[in-house]
């Protein structure tokens, strides 16, 4: 039928384009990331799915600044951006995979890239783009690593972020603490003093990777081996246990509110910080615009993640841009991808809260938004969560185990032992 032959044609076309892409040389894509690329002028429509909310500064920048600039450089190419509600984007991608109707480009959460790559629907950019190494070298290594799966890179980092320690200076001063806690030991020591003035030393609203990995890594612990094949010996190492134990001890002492156990409706981290109920929280750069709008009288201040035996190591978040195999216009799509990671576009997005992935922009960023500074510093050492399709399930499982340890249902060691063995099973499944 029509649809099947269309798919076949697309596969052939894609194959040809891929070959052109990696013939690596004359006429093909040049090394300059913002160059016009191939000798033949690009044309056609490129569809780009994203989750920027309606009327947001991000989507306005995309539609009024970035896309027009790109289309001016590449007349003949039209970029159509499709907004999908953030909570539903993954589901919509899944159905699109099943129906083989994926768009050309997707702004995918970094955690989805290995999943999609494993399904075989993404184009390996390190082979399809001759200038891939130039582009990838510009990114933060932690962000770039989120795109690697089975020896190939399936996307480019698009925007990044990390968590830093946001603190309420007034509450700390009230408790007699001059500086925000620089080490985990400092935080633990400060906890009783803060409790005495009615504030929790720290608050977080979950116990998954995004929440506990900074603690585990800063304590010197790991989740998996470097090849992401097993977790036993890493997730339940002494250092990892120590990292989680900090949280458990804080909770037991009453210094950590129970929103970490989940369940909505408690005092949110932002609300608690602004009102002085929580002395410190870990959160990302988006908090600055939020606080500016919701709590304009509160001065939001940030410090690095409290240092443990392993340093001050935070967790990388953000989105990657990926090219799908079902794209019928891979050359134009690749060119738009190049533009999105160019300095021009990255700086434009930086103005509206999307931190660039280009490591060399560090100094320029602080002049765009002063609050980026602590995040830039933290990003130098920040790590991505384990890059594997099994992470989604591992994350849910880890959260359950950590929560039961916090509640006191089991010791940290037995919780992490169980988490490690379950993770081993999940990871083993992936290798098949």
């Amino acid at each position: 039928m029509i649809s099947r032959s269309k798919v076949a044609w697309a596969a052939v076309a894609a194959g040809m384009l891929a070959l052109t892409g990696c013939s690596g040389g004359a006429g093909a894509a040049t090394a300059a990331p913002t160059g016009s690329g191939s000798a033949a002028p690009l044309s056609g429509t490129v569809t780009f799915w994203h989750a920027y909310s309606a009327d947001s500064p991000e989507v306005k920048t995309l539609e009024t600044t970035i896309i027009p600039a790109f289309e001016k450089k590449n007349p003949g190419v039209t970029v159509k951006d499709v907004a999908v509600p953030y909570d539903q984007l993954h589901q919509k991608l899944v159905t699109a995979v099943a129906g083989d109707v994926l768009p050309d480009l997707v702004r995918a959460d970094i955690g989805w890239v290995p999943e999609l790559a494993n399904l075989g629907v993404l184009v390996p950019l390190d082979t399809s783009m001759s200038d891939f190494t130039t582009l990838s070298d510009q990114s933060y290594p932690g962000s770039l690593a989120t795109n690697k799966w089975k020896g190939h890179y399936y996307g480019l980092p698009l925007d990044t972020n990390t968590r830093v320690l946001l603190y309420n200076a007034d509450v700390l001063k009230k408790a007699g603490i001059a500086e925000p806690p620089a080490t985990v030991t400092d935080l633990v020591a400060a906890a009783p003093k803060l409790k005495a003035v009615g504030a929790s030393a720290f608050a977080d609203n979950g116990a998954g990777g995004w929440n506990v990995l900074p603690w585990i890594w800063s304590a010197g612990g790991q989740i998996t081996d470097p090849d992401v094949t097993k977790a036993t010996g890493y997730l339940n190492s002494a250092a990892s246990i120590a990292g989680v134990q900090t949280l458990v001890d804080l909770y037991k002492g009453g210094y950590l509110p129970d929103i970490i156990l989940g369940g909505e409706g408690g005092v949110s981290t932002s609300d608690g910080l602004a009102t002085g109920k929580y002395a410190t929280i870990l959160d990302g750069p988006w908090m600055y615009p939020i606080f500016a709008s919701q709590y304009p009288d509160f001065k939001l201040t940030a410090a690095q993640v409290p240092q443990g035996a392993g340093g001050s190591i935070s967790v990388v978040g953000g989105e990657d841009i990926v090219l799908t195999k079902s794209s019928k216009n891979q050359a134009a799509a690749t060119e738009f991808m190049r533009y999105m990671v160019s300095e021009e576009a990255q700086l434009a997005m930086a103005k509206v809260g999307q931190m660039p992935v280009l490591a060399n922009l560090g100094d320029k960023l602080t002049s765009v938004n002063g609050y980026y500074a602590p995040f830039i510093t933290q990003l130098a050492t920040a790590r991505p969560r384990p890059v594997t399709p099994a992470w989604s399930e591992m994350d849910a499982m880890l959260q359950d185990e950590v929560r039961s340890a916090i509640k006191g249902d089991k010791s940290v060691k037995s919780a992490l032992d169980e988490a490690a063995s379950k993770a081993d099973a999940l990871l083993a499944n992936v290798q098949k």
């Binding site: 993954h90 995979v97 399904l119 369940g263 909505e264 409706g265 039961s404």
Partner: protein, 320 residues
Amino acid sequence: MVSTQLTAQLSAEPTTISRRPSAAGRRRRRRGVFAAYAFVLPGFALYALVMLYPAVQTLLLSMRDWHIAPGAVSPWVGIANYTKAFGDPIFLNSLLNSAVYTAVTVPLQIVIGLGLAVLLDSKLPGRTAFRVLFYLPVVTSWVVVSLLFQYMFSSGDGAANAVVVDLLHVVPNNVAWFQGRWTAIAAICILGTWKGIGWSMLIFLAALTGVPKELHEAAAIDGAGAFKRFQHVSLPSIRPAMTVVVILLVIGGFNVFISVFLMTGGGPDNQTQVPLTYMYDQAFKYYKFGYGSAISFSLTALVLVISGIQYWWTRRSTRM
């Protein structure tokens, strides 16, 4: 009444109008059947295409280890997904959760919905306003309502804790509603009942208006008070609607999805999963479509059995 008539018709032998196979009789019968098919087939064809055909495909899918990537091989596993489901403690718990949800919300929706419909059935001034107010929960979107209910059931000073601790004094301290299995389910039940009352009220209202006034007048002349009239006139007259409402609410109760999805997501620790949220996780988060489909079909089978029993029970009791 309804059920017996319809069922009697369905199980009746096709009657012959005349023993003599006259050509005119045959033609009339054929035209009758043709007309009947003209009534049924357009709608049924669309229904079959859009509901039954995909349902059959999903059933077949549930018997494979289905891979969603186009062109991937999906090996046949027979009933392996089903045996896995019935050995899966999370799935079995989810069945229990939705059973509890159904057992709590269905009677409440019926009793309260019927009660409100009865109160609004008379010529009460301002009844349109009330009818609109009661319908408001039904039209408010689930996303908005779940958010509000999460907020009202917050472990801090939400409205629910205010009622339970400060007003009614049934518990001494604030309850962390969403951290325990049964407290979370209680909150979900309250949300479900709240949102559904207007729906059942609507159907009962429509049914009550069909009760001929003479029946009420006759009973009143015989000296029956309001309650007795309700018991002996209204209730029997709306029995068809009641059957429909009960069956639909039970089906809806077991198939509960969006409220649980938005309120707890099945957590904490899979304790508040219901079959459909568990199915969603398995299928859309972990790509186990075969298993997810098996879960849905097991639920469907269970619901059909229960509905079948209900249907048979109402037939029995009306025949007596």
